[in-house]
Amino acid sequence: MADGLRLETLEIRLGGRCMVALDAHVAPGEVLTVMGPSGSGKSTLLAAITGALDPAFALSGRILLDGEDVTALPTERRRIGILFQDELLFPHLSVGGNLAFGLTPSLRGRAARRKRIDSALQEIGLEGFAARDPATLSGGQKARVALMRTLLAEPRALLLDEPFSRLDAARRGQIRELVFARAKAQRLPVLLVTHDREDACAAGGAVIELGA
């Protein structure tokens, strides 16, 4: 039970008012879906878990990752990957440069890193795209690069902030399947925030509703 992402009596307050209160556990390879209308504190919850909570909010409770308390760690030391609604590919870097930014520094050597990026591109069906400008990619291609960039950093958990809502219906199912399959294969606990029932059904895990 020590494995995965555990939110222990997590409570986020703003000026004394409770925004979100949650107690949950996501096992490796499982998906927990958090639903709720806009303004219900979904994004605030994700910010708290990534460690990017605005100082105006007060956080109590603990966030545990594989048994380790990460509540006080800065974002960059938590190793929690996040995918937003926008892909947020860095516009000044090439597609390969974006992946290299994510790729864990423990893989050393220019040639080895290059090889890893090439094979990562192959895995998502974008072979030979390394030198491309991210702005020239289609929405589905961008989403795949963003996912791969996150995975290459070897995260211990994955957060999804409505990552499929920008995609058209055809791409949507495809990308959703890819993300969940990769997360399962790497035994990542996944926390999905969405207001779309279909996303929640496809995720197949437990669903928590946040009030407005």
């Binding site: 938590r78 947020l88 400008d133």
Partner: protein
């Protein structure tokens, strides 16, 4: 980390420390204390000497009149142009014509205007063709005793500044919606804008307006070129006393500088009263419900004045250019008989050393300012600091306290400290004025950067430093370079700090150009003022060119 946390405090110290020290350094000699001259007894002698100067009432009236007049005119024109034309194609044209003119140094613009409106200038030459004049009209147009040409010079330079500040504040007010609503209720375009947009806009541009007022009242370089001579404006007279070989006159200069400060504060107070009165009258005007649909003449007038203002600078630069390559050029002729590169060949080599110093001072001062501003903004981002309205006031303080009020004090302090006349002292003085502009230019794009980029970066394991250097700076390359260009243009244009802190030993293109004001050697002025303009323009050209080259293969940064 802790160094970054202290960045805002350090920035305030670098920017406001010299202002306060300079004011103290002015205060003491104004009350008769100047140990270097063996004066240690406080007294009111400097003030009584100042009062005994027969030119004082007129100099004071000139400072007040030209400052208030030019600010009022520039503000009214800016508002009427926006009211009558915002959202039209003509407005975009005017915007594009006026914006680059902001970078033209004050001195160069003033010389250009002088070359246009002088009795033997292009305007008189054009009239001579029509009216058959053989000799220049016998009129004192330049440096007229009423300061009218000085007001004209200030208006054409302040109009682009106020317009740009307005354009920066406008989008958040959604003026298009307000205007559409007002017009659907039957209001004329100008009246609708003035009644629905202006009351919300003015508080946003109040500080820039105050800066313009304080600047116009106490400006030295433009007043030396276009302003009256006997007596000149108070600020120019203070400078004359400062530069007098008789060191005892420094006391009187300090008293005059203090008077200039009081005058500026008084004018700002008067302006504030005016604001209250206009607000009261305006509210009654709004509630009376007049539709004022026939604003065509007003719109034509405002557009004409805006275009004339842009033309005055552009044609002025052209006049400088033609004079710089003119051979013999007799009066009624519109163009010289012959063109020659002689002036450039002769003056060019002499300008190399001032040009190098200009570049060195501008680059170092802007570099220091940029580092401090980036540190402040990054500290704001990392520590979740919220800048207060008071912080904005502090930022504007060096632009509102008249230069002539605290720079003499700073010079005396530099003299005591033995650093006067060094390029370091000049650079430190430039930083005071470069910093606010670099901050104002960079703050919005920096704060507007999508924070989620930082979160994604951190989530991928990047440290705050790595996110700053590898993501934020490269993505903000364009606004950073624009801020650098603004900083360089401000530094290049500085006259008084260079002159006073440089003690006459540090020469820049601007001090060289302004020094020519009394001589009237037109070809030399043309060459020098154009070199000064080029020095201010070049960084802007690079700020456009470099991102276009570096990011030529990055569509996502084309319009960043």
């Amino acid at each position: 980390m802790s160094l970054l946390r202290r960045a805002p405090a350090l920035t305030l110290l670098v920017m406001l420390g010299p202002v306060l020290a300079g004011l103290a350094g002015t205060l003491l000699p104004a009350f008769g204390i100047m140990p270097a001259l063996g004066r240690v007894e406080p007294g009111l002698m400097p003030f009584s000497e100042l009062a005994a100067w027969p030119g004082l009432p007129r100099a004071v009236a000139l400072s007040l009149g030209t400052g208030l007049g030019s600010t009022l005119l520039a503000l009214a024109l800016t508002m009427l142009i926006c009211a009558g034309w915002q959202g039209t194609r003509a407005f975009r044209w005017l915007e594009r014509a006026l914006s680059p003119l902001l970078s033209v140094p004050h001195a160069a613009a003033a010389f250009g205007l002088a070359f246009l409106i002088a009795p033997s200038g292009w305007v008189a030459r054009a009239l001579a063709q029509l009216l058959g004049w053989e000799r220049p009209p016998d009129l004192l147009i330049l440096q007229d005793p009423w300061g009218l040409s000085l007001i004209a010079g200030l208006v054409v330079k302040e109009l682009p500044f106020l317009l740009l500040m307005t354009l920066a504040a406008l989008p958040a007010l959604r003026p298009g919606q307000s205007l559409a609503t007002a017009r659907s209720l039957g209001y004329g375009r100008s009246a609708g804008w003035l009644k629905t947009v202006f009351p919300r806009l003015y508080p946003q541009i109040r500080l820039p307006v105050y800066a313009v007022l304080a600047f116009s009242m106490s400006v030295v370089d433009v007043a030396l070129i276009l302003g009256p001579n006997t007596p000149p404006t108070l600020a120019v007279q203070v400078l004359r006393w400062m530069n007098d070989p008789d060191l005892a006159l420094r006391l009187r200069a300090a008293a005059g500088a203090l008077l200039q400060l009081v005058l500026t504060l008084g004018a700002l107070g008067l302006w504030r009263l005016g604001e209250i009165a206009v607000a009261r009258i305006g509210r009654a005007w709004i509630e009376a419900g007049g539709r004022a649909r026939h604003d065509a003449p007003l719109r034509a007038l405002s557009f004409g004045a805006g275009a004339l203002s842009a033309l005055a600078i552009i044609l002025g630069l052209a006049a400088l250019g033609v004079w710089s390559v003119a051979g013999f050029w007799g009066f009624p002729a519109l163009l010289p008989d012959a063109f020659t590169a002689k002036s450039w060949m002769k003056q060019g080599p002499q300008l190399l050393s001032p040009a190098a110093d200009t570049a060195l001072i501008a680059l170092v001062a802007t570099g220091v300012a940029l580092a401090l501003v980036l540190a402040c903004l990054e500290a704001e981002h990392r520590f979740g600091l919220r800048p207060s309205a008071r912080a904005l006031w502090l930022l504007y303080l060096p632009l509102i306290v008249p230069q002539i009020a605290f720079l003499p004090g700073l010079q005396i302090l530099a003299l005591v400290g033995g650093v006067d006349g060094t390029i370091t002292a000049v650079i430190a003085a430039h930083v005071i004025f470069v910093l606010p502009y670099v901050f104002l230019s960079l703050a919005d794009p920096y704060r507007g950067w999508d924070r989620r980029n930082a979160i994604v970066g951190h989530a991928l394991g990047a440290s705050p430093a790595r996110v700053f250097w590898r993501l934020r700076l490269p993505m903000l390359l364009r606004p950073v370079l624009t801020a650098v260009a603004v900083g360089c243009a401000v530094s290049v244009g500085q006259f008084l700090p260079t002159l006073l802190l440089g003690g006459g030993r540090v020469q820049t293109l601007t001090t060289e150009a302004v020094a020519l004001a009394s001589g009237g050697a037109r070809r030399v002025i043309g060459v020098t003022a154009l070199a000064q303009t080029a020095a201010a323009f070049l960084p802007f050209a690079l700020a456009l060119l470099i991102p276009a080259l570096v990011w030529r293969n990055r569509k996502g940064l084309k319009h960043g």
